[in-house]
Symmetry: C2
Subunit: 165 residues, 2 copies
């Protein structure tokens, strides 16, 4: 099972590594509305953890403070990758990590560079990953660590998804 999970994380990384922009979805404060904004994925770790730069003063940081459950939507027509990822977000205010992840593209948002005192990181640990397999036109549950039922879940359009832990 462990090995199968590793293969699934590898598949996740393969699909995400060339995606420049995703939609990071949080829960709006004090409402039942969703809040989404395009975000650049700075890095995906070997265990599937995704990293984002953000301003500490931004709304999304407040929203994550209220509810750590976030979703990441990827609809990349050119690479034909469609993913819906649900995970847990944590704020990481670590300058060493920021240095490791920094690249010059981020200057568009942080002209002050790594000296910007308002810079911080969002770390998202995926708990459920669904992707659309274009060859079979099926929604596949890559992994799901949120749900109790882990096998044979029927998915979208009456097709069967695979759940591997």
């Amino acid at each position: 099972m462990k090995q199968e999970h590793s293969l699934n994380v590898e598949k996740l990384i393969e699909m995400v590594k060339d995606v420049r922009v995703c939609m990071l979805i949080t829960n709006e404060k004090n409402t039942e509305n969703l809040s989404g904004r395009p975000m650049s994925i700075s890095k995906i770790d070997a265990d599937g953890t995704m990293w984002f730069f953000t301003k500490a003063s931004s709304y999304k940081v407040e929203e994550i403070g209220e509810s750590k459950k976030v979703s990441i939507s990827i609809t990349n027509e050119s690479s034909n990758n469609y993913l819906m990822i649900h995970g847990i977000a944590t704020m990481v205010n670590d300058k060493t990590k920021m240095k490791e992840l920094w690249n010059s593209i981020m200057k568009a948002w942080f002209p002050l560079g790594l000296d910007d005192p308002d810079m911080t990181l969002i770390k998202v640990k995926p708990k459920e990953v669904n992707y659309w397999d274009s060859s079979s036109s099926k929604m596949v549950v890559l992994f799901n660590m949120l749900k109790a039922i882990v096998t044979g879940k029927e998915y979208e359009e009456g097709k069967h998804g695979k759940i591997n832990l």
Copy 2:
């Protein structure tokens, strides 16, 4: 104000008309989780209403039955269009409308064509439209018919969004 709203709907149509795939996000039944799947936008009307073909037996139809609030996430890197749309979904089981919207691409999902008894339509009326303006790097609220406060809302990254009704 009416005229400004029309211009905003035109802008929405301009951004959406060439988008082939979006992520349609619903609320999972009996949980607080989101549920998303890539969907092809069949048509966007002159008033911004969006149409999707779906199987009547699919999970998302059940989910819309429970909660009509849906979101549409668009992250189109090639056209540089990033939108987060919140709206109200209605199921429309109207064969005349299906005939009007049908195109041969839908055969991939409905090999039986318009005779498929499991075919139905989802109509999404946008209530709040946010898009990312790439030239100014600002999140712009194109229109918002959900919120009481309609002017001067500060948005993502400390930048100011425009709200036009």
